[in-house]
Symmetry: C2
Subunit: 141 residues, 2 copies
DNA sequence: ATCCAATTGCAACTAAAACTCAATAGCAAC
DNA sequence: GTTGCTATTGAGTTTTAGTTGCAATTGGAT
């Protein structure tokens, strides 16, 4: 709770932006969610607690949280964004079950190394990547 | 030109659907494009040739072409779909330059094998995957 | 305490895609 | 070839996700 707030405060200060009550509330709610979430999940949770933050402010603040490295945007096979914490989580990729919608996280350092190798071959400077395998989980296959 | 038309015809027949002039025109235009394209590219190209197909029909037909295995939907870092041919192209993944927007295709069988291995570990039955590396190409780095 | 730039919420807007529906047209059966 | 049923079409409307403009408000540096 302190670490993420500090990180946001530092980022905002460095850009001449302000740490508002709205941003504090959103940050708190975001870090009380321990799974992938979407904007509307957040909106509804905040409404339940009677924190009446507008959707505009949510969208604007989530962008800031991604920029300052607290969150990552995750695109599943849908037309809207999902988010997950970066702070306190190792990099990973996703298996996505088409049956039950379950998301399984995995990480594989050999794959990561081979990705670097591919980038080297193309003289491409990687900045990030997204690996997503769709299919059916143990229960749904 | 024959092979893709046969594939579409077969698929349509198997589903009790019809091979209409509109679908034929769209198929022809789609296979005259030899790069990634989006719906509006297709729409504009067809207008230029005075093939006045509605956007609704384009959206509906592209879905059919994906279903029957002629096209693949590709999601770059944008909020709308792109497409590419499957017929006559090996499976590949993409490097995406954030500078110039260039898309570089690559394929790496070791990565593919490791993906299978990961799926095995989770008893996950893969159906497809998407690997996208963002960064900067040789010219833009 | 003052002041100005940043922020907020709301409404209006946008882009991509899906849906509704009346008119039309494949195509299989006769 | 005609008929009839169902799929298809285009135009317009709706939905979804997100962005933008703006007037009122406020954080926080001085
Ligand atoms: Mn995750
Ligand atoms: Mn490609
Ligand atoms: Zn499942
Ligand atoms: Zn480039």
């Amino acid at each position: 709770m302190r670490i993420e707030e500090d990180k946001l405060r530092d980022y905002l200060k460095s850009k001449g932006l302000k740490f508002t009550p709205e941003r504090q509330l959103i940050l708190k709610e975001v870090f009380s969610i321990h799974r992938h979430f979407e904007v509307d999940d957040l909106f509804i949770r905040m409404r339940r607690r009677d924190n009446r933050i507008s959707r505009s402010t949510l969208y604007r603040t989530l962008r800031l949280l991604v920029e300052c490295g607290l969150l990552r945007e995750v695109l599943f096979e849908e037309r809207h964004s999902h988010y997950e914490h970066i702070l306190g989580h190792e990099h990973h990729d996703h298996l996505l079950c088409l049956g039950c919608g379950q998301v399984i996280e995995f990480s594989n350092s050999s794959i990561e190394k081979l990705q670097s190798k591919v980038c080297g071959e193309y003289k491409f400077q990687p900045q990030g990547h997204r690996l997503q395998i769709t299919g059916y989980c143990r229960k749904c296959r």
